[in-house]
């Protein structure tokens, strides 16, 4: 009906789909943390290649993610530019040397190899994490989502609210559409024809009924859940939870090895940064 804005799960029949949700969540979190901490360029390139190869195997097609990817690329570029604008000498202070490319060292805005190298590292971090996040989201059955969150220690109430939110996204979207059109029929112009402030005001007119109808929904759903004993015990079981299989243990082992390598490199480099300028 509409352009696909949200990324969605589909059974693409790959080994990634068959892994348990908890394995994928743990791997994603583990690799993200080590990737965010380290500034070892060699390591970052390594896990970036790793995540791109895995992404290739996930059989996710580009058009499914084109929108999300363009948003992420936009934000990453903005972020890199802002880092430069606010701290153009950060690379120099990290690596302790200064190789000027443009401008003089008297100026606030100059360009050094160190700064470029530092921002290149940042870019690598974004590039390696995005495919991993997309793989996790798009190969994990939403039904398993809550179960895997619960398994890694989140309370089941919180986990289930995540699942419920997923369940209601389509309903709220269609509510929004209906309300918006009904308000437009009354004369609230929110299309591109109207001025910005008019559109904002029109948007508020939609929000109010949407919030009220969503609150109603929440009240009814929470009653429906209580009537079926949600919240009775300290724990609950999950119909869709998957038992760990050999492939899960293997995956976790591979991820653990990658993380250990990352930590080992901290010792080799004597810190989080790998310095090619010395």
């Amino acid at each position: 009906m509409q352009h696909q804005l949200l990324i969605g799960y589909a059974d693409r029949k790959t080994f990634l789909n068959r892994l348990s949700g908890s394995t994928k969540l743990l791997s994603f979190i583990g690799l993200s943390i080590i990737g965010m901490m380290t500034y070892d360029t060699r390591y970052l390139i390594g896990i970036m290649l790793f995540s791109l190869v895995i992404f290739h195997f996930s059989k996710i097609r580009y058009r499914e993610i084109s929108f999300v990817v363009s948003v992420i690329v936009g934000f990453s570029v903005l972020n890199l530019v802002m880092v430069y604008v606010f701290a153009p000498h950060y690379g120099v202070s990290i690596y302790g040397t200064e190789h000027l490319l443009l401008g003089s060292n008297q100026h606030y805005f100059n360009l050094t190899t160190e700064q470029l190298f530092y921002e290149f590292n940042l870019l690598l971090k974004y590039t390696f994490a995005v495919p991993l996040a997309l793989i996790f989201l798009m190969t994990t059955n939403p039904s398993e989502f809550a179960a895997s969150l619960n398994k890694i220690g989140l309370s089941y109430r919180v986990s289930y609210s995540v699942a419920i939110a997923l369940r209601y996204i389509p309903d709220v979207q269609s509510d929004y559409r209906t309300i918006s059109l009904a308000q437009q029929a009354r004369g609230f112009e929110i299309s591109k024809k109207a001025k910005f402030m008019t559109r904002v005001r029109g948007g508020i007119q939609i929000l109010l009924p949407l919030i009220f109808s969503s609150l109603d929904r929440i009240e009814i759903i929470s009653q429906a859940m209580e009537l079926r004993r949600f919240g009775k015990g300290k724990h609950r079981s999950w119909y869709m939870a998957q038992k760990f299989k050999a492939a899960d243990y293997l995956t976790l082992l591979v991820v653990a090895v990658l993380i250990v390598i990352g930590i080992a490199l901290f010792h080799v480099n004597g810190g989080r940064f790998w310095n090619p300028f010395k």
Binding site: R167, Q183, A185, I206, I220, E226
Partner: protein, 567 residues
């Protein structure tokens, strides 16, 4: 009966903390195991509150003052939690959509087992068993959005039956189903009552539809009290329904029109077994006595659709080459199965959707050139749920909003708003906050907010859903009035066969992307093939006419005429 009651109210009263008056007053009611009980009553009579006492939402979610006692299977509700009671009483809520908690059918069925920490093997066995009983095997991995209303309701039933609770409570089970699904649902409930030894309590005001299957007891509530508690037949015989603001079954009204003394009738609650001395002669005499008036014919075309096509996916067309002309001053009902495109069609007319092919012209003007806002000046569309339309806090502001946005003079706005409020019977409430209004009044505010724009045509989606007979009659009298007096063309989208029969002159049946039939309502509801194809339901009038060798179409038309004259 010798056995002990499974549910017992003893001098029970309840008052919500948020209200100043008690909602239930000194109730005494015993329900025995295996009984099938229908609880009926107008809105605000306390029937839903009674349901909430049974499943534990009172006092857990709705605190209030209680006196007297309610025992369910020996447990006092005062000292039980909602979780304890849920093992005894399974509740199927009014809107099966909101009851659907899981992301797929099978997860929803297993939901309560998950909360009881059952292992996966048990859950698989149990869901498989109930999927078979309720014929859901092929739907297990489907998402709620892919199911029909009837299927969702079956999932909801499976989700509570899986607990093996012996009491099943249905809160307005027919409200969101089309007539055919409603009929199927009633038959299924009846079958389960016997096969699973259930005690069933149905809260519903559509009595005729529930009575399609035998009911052991009918409890009628009014202003928080039980005013009738008996087998259905004696209650029907005394014509208590009409006095209590409830709709009588249509065949009963027909008997009364024909001057038949109900005291002489047997099996009044079951049309198929109804025996009345000289029934055929009396009905035939009544029928012969009435001459059908020629219907008023409207001929001035207002809205013309030609070769309209639309589909969300190019290959699957919901509206397929549809052509139709609506005339000025007509009162039309648009009916058809859930999901056949009734709403899609009205969205095409209002410009919410754009057709892929075909033309729409209104009063000679091509609609394609007009925006949603411009079309709204000619055609008003009123959504089913008023909460989706209301965006202001005061009634006056809400009704004025459309005019303010069209940049009219404040004095003109005030004049037109006040005039509209008078027409809609809302003038006294003009300074009230919208939140203080009842559902039916809110609905009327949304109609006023559209009427003030002076459209030539109104489209209303289920205008009477969720309203009791009194509010229903008020709403329809009001719509009939603006149709007659202002010559307003009105199209009603509805599942209510009674509404279509009694208040509209022309019925358009939608199916397979096109018009299946376009005729007088009495003709539609006596056409077997169409009834089957469009998931409509035969009314009891049809059956009554058939059983007594009368021409059903003519009989139904005469009945409608007699009803309208009596109004």
């Amino acid at each position: 009966m010798m056995t002990a009651p499974i549910i017992s109210f003893k001098d029970f009263s309840f008052q919500y903390d948020s209200q100043t008056e008690p909602t239930l007053r000194h109730l005494n009611l015993d329900i025995y195991p295996g009984e099938k009980v229908l609880i009926a009553g107008p809105s605000g009579s306390g029937k839903s509150t009674l349901g909430r006492c049974l499943n534990g939402l009172i006092p857990q979610s709705y605190p209030g003052k209680m006196s007297g006692q309610v025992l369910i299977n020996g447990q006092a509700i005062k000292t039980s939690t909602i979780f304890d009671l849920s093992m005894q009483v399974g509740t199927v809520l009014q809107d099966p959509d909101s009851q659907f908690v899981g992301l797929t059918v099978v997860e929803d069925m297993a939901f309560s087992l998950e909360n009881d920490q059952q292992d996966q093997a048990t859950m698989r066995t149990d869901t498989a068993k109930w999927a078979q009983t309720l014929e859901l095997q092929d739907l297990l991995t489907h998402r709620p959005q892919e199911l029909s209303g009837g299927q969702k309701q079956r999932v909801a039933m499976a989700g509570v039956l899986i607990d093996n609770s012996k009491i099943l409570l249905f809160d307005e089970p027919l409200a969101s189903l089309d007539p055919a699904s409603g009929k199927a649902s009633m038959a299924l409930i009846d079958q389960l009552t016997h096969s699973e030894d259930l005690t069933v309590i149905i809260i519903e005001h559509r009595i005729e539809d529930v009575l399609q299957q035998p009911i052991d007891r009918l409890v009628v509530m009014q202003e928080g009290r039980i005013v009738a508690n008996d087998q259905p037949e004696p209650i029907l015989r005394q014509s208590l329904m009409a006095q209590l603001g409830l709709r009588e079954p249509l065949y009963l009204s027909a008997l009364l029109h024909a001057g038949i003394d109900l005291d002489n009738c047997d099996h009044l609650d079951q049309l198929s077994r109804l025996t009345v001395p000289n029934l055929t002669e009396k009905l035939q005499a009544w029928s012969a006595d009435i001459t059908l008036k020629a219907p008023i014919v409207h001929t001035e075309p207002l809205l013309t659709l030609t070769h309209l096509c639309f589909g969300y996916e190019p290959k699957h067309r919901i509206i397929d080459d549809l052509s139709l002309t609506l005339h000025r001053g007509e009162m039309i009902s648009l009916v058809g199965q859930n999901g056949t495109g009734k709403s899609t069609l009205s969205n095409l007319i209002t410009g919410f959707l754009t057709p892929q092919a075909g033309q729409l012209s209104f009063d000679g003007q091509n609609l394609a050139a007009l925006s949603v806002k411009e079309r709204a000046d000619h055609i008003g569309y009123i959504l089913q749920d008023p909460n989706q339309m209301l965006s202001k806090t005061l009634i006056f502001d809400e009704v004025a909003a459309g005019l303010v946005l069209r940049g009219l003079e404040p004095a003109t706005i005030e004049k037109r708003v006040l005039a509209t409020l008078k027409v809609c019977g809302l003038y006294e409430f003009r300074h009230w906050p919208i939140s203080a209004l009842s559902f039916g009044q809110k609905k009327r505010v949304t109609i006023a907010a559209i009427l003030v724009l002076e459209p030539a045509m109104l489209i209303l989606d289920e205008p009477t859903a969720g309203q009791d007979l009194q509010h229903y009659t008020e709403m329809m009298t009001f719509l009939t009035k603006i149709n007659r007096e202002q010559g307003m063309t009105i199209m009603l989208i509805t599942h209510d066969m009674h509404l279509m029969l009694e208040y509209t002159d022309r019925t358009i049946v939608l199916g397979n992307g096109n018009v299946l039939m376009d005729d007088a309502p009495a003709n539609v509801l006596t056409n077997d093939a169409i009834i089957e194809q469009a998931s409509l339901a035969k009314t009891s009038l049809y059956t009554l006419a058939e059983q007594n060798q009368l021409n059903p179409t003519e009989f139904v038309a005469k009945f409608v005429q007699a009803e309208r004259e009596a109004r």
